[in-house]
Symmetry: C2
Subunit: 344 residues, 2 copies
DNA sequence: ACGGTTTAAGTAAACGTTTAAGCAAATAAA
DNA sequence: TTTATTTGCTTAAACGTTTACTTAAACCGT
């Protein structure tokens, strides 16, 4: 078998070997019908033989498009986001695109910095979940005005006219709260984190609606905002809250708050579900084997990622998709387990 | 404030505006001392004013280096890998590099495909954990011979002479097994997954060493290979094993096997730790709140990722680092919890 | 005043593609 | 037979940088 030269083989090499012009090589490889069938075959064969791989940067420069997208998310050590990435990746790979990953760590400054960089044309599109403390959205607007399509998922930015893939935060918080009420809770706290205006509002809204429907008066003090990190301070902060408010039900709105809540209850010697019932928004498979098994709001992470990617790639492929018209909501599912079973 | 033009601003634009040559712009921005201090300032100022961002593809093409690395891992919905990515990212961001992410889903074919693509010069380096069914390593060798530095972490490929960041699989399996033996187990099963020759061998070795030291004869039937997916079949498969072998201790070697094991035991009405003790290699924070809290081998995921990135970037920056000499082992930690407490 | 060095620029080629435009030969249409 | 069209290929410019080389002026020592 013929071996590839150790020095880079490019179109020039192929052209020389086959004694045709570089243009012929390029067109043959892109299956242009400028080129005769026989020549095409010879080019393709030789390219394979010499292990020719096109230089993506030359191609991107010339075509002014990169076959690359950016995935911008707050963090990655979170089952929701990692599952969403799986969904995105299922399309990216199939479309022969490449994905750059950027973690904002929930910092607006980093997010803005990343967007500034992307205005260079580095990517053909962006799939993102905004940072929790992003209030100013100029960086996003500017990239969009520069012609880079953006698709939001989960933590969307309502003020940007583009595709948004959400889950039914309002309704699932409503269902979760209703469930707690039906299990006998009278004093339910909503444990949330700083920022995320749109998600927060939706979940808070659903929570309040359920309370109202059950003639329970909502008290502001029942909503507590933790920092978006899993750490000892949050546990202490939550313990203090529980100690003071004595809730008999807790809705934890992000994944890592499940552990925080369980540990806080344990330290306070509160029994779940007898003393206090807990439901959490999380996709962790371990929910089923917790002590006790945790009632969860299971978000369609994979499907959200996948749908976001489908829209972006559909748009990039020139399909008649008006991103700003796409406002998709995929349902979350309340999975009831022992952490909310009615006591005796 | 002057607004950026809506059409792309490049060096030509700046050159025209400042009435200097393109070369001057380029040199000024790279702080060459070919250029006078005053001119440099004018260039930098104008670039900022017009929101100039260099085209990375033109730059990569010309410089034949991309300021981009590839992260190639089997999967991402796994706390070990996502934490490792956090570690990698902590360096990537700081070095102003970009990270392309590729998921092999443990498929050799996909992995080989990705490597073929990377031979185009798309990335300056690779950080990877090999797929479980990768036996043939030509794709890796070829990329390396093409001059792309590769750093392995966790699931390394022993036959490639380059940097490897591992954790002490042998020793931590040894410690875990010893711990189970000391807690009174006499019949310990090792639950593992297909593939991963080097990791598997190390963990199996540590497991056997502990058994031998405690005069327990090892039986091949005590090692069970599941598929590397969290699903119902694996639970059934493990149940069958437990039912047949009746182990009083289980060492689960990858994260998702924790849930599999717990559910299998639950379905078999086996009490952990009284009937059977369990320890699992996992980094999930929920380990502490499982029923019962799970004894884990906690791997230094973040540090492994970070170290891998440090080596790669050190090498790329031209520091005198001989990658093939770097064979680093970071310690895992056995975190003892109730799933292995001695019964009464 | 003269050669030599330093400073601060500019010129132009190169990186590897893609593609508009051109052209000769073959084929079809008249 | 002549004219148009198609086929199959080539030429050359362009994408936006970087950089080796050139140049012109200024400065400096003798």
């Amino acid at each position: 078998m013929a071996e590839a030269k150790s020095n880079k083989v490019n179109m020039k090499t192929l052209a020389k070997v086959l004694n045709v012009s570089i243009a012929t090589i390029s067109k043959a490889l892109r299956d242009s019908h400028d080129i005769g069938e026989e020549t095409k075959q010879r080019v393709i064969e030789t390219a394979k033989l010499l292990h020719y791989v096109p230089n993506p940067y030359a191609s991107s420069l010339r075509k002014r498009s990169s076959n690359t997208i950016a995935i911008i998310i707050p963090e990655i050590a979170d089952s929701f986001f990692s599952q969403a990435i799986n969904g995105i990746e299922s399309i990216v790979g199939q479309e022969k695109y490449h994905a750059l990953i950027y973690l904002t760590h929930d910092s607006y400054e980093r997010e803005a910095q990343m967007f500034a960089d992307l205005s260079s044309g580095r990517v053909d599109g962006v799939i993102m979940s905004v940072a929790s403390n992003t209030k100013e959205i100029r960086h996003i607007q500017e990239l969009q005005q520069a012609g880079v399509p953006i698709v939001f998922f989960d933590r969307v930015c309502e003020d940007i006219p583009t595709a948004k893939i959400k889950t039914d935060d309002f309704n699932s918080a409503y269902m979760a709260t209703k469930h707690l009420l039906e299990q006998g809770c009278k004093n339910i706290s909503l444990v949330t984190i700083e920022g995320y205006p749109s998600i927060l509002q939706a979940r808070e809204g659903g929570y309040k609606k359920a309370l109202t429907e059950h003639q329970v008066k909502h008290k502001e003090q029942n909503i507590i905002s933790c920092s978006n990190k899993y750490n000892q301070e949050n546990i202490a902060f939550l313990k203090e809250h529980i100690d003071k408010i004595k809730p008999d039900g807790i809705i934890a709105t992000v994944e890592h708050l499940a552990t925080t809540t369980y540990l806080a209850c344990e330290e306070l010697k509160l029994n779940i579900p007898n003393d206090i019932k807990v439901v959490c928004f999380t996709n962790q498979i371990t929910a089923a084997i917790l002590n006790p098994p945790l009632t969860t709001v299971l978000q369609p992470a994979y499907d959200m990622g996948r749908k976001a990617a489908e829209l972006l790639f559909g748009h990039l492929a020139g399909k008649p998709i008006q991103l700003e018209k796409e406002n998709i909501t995929l349902p979350s599912k309340l999975v009831v387990r022992d952490s909310t079973r009615a006591g005796d």
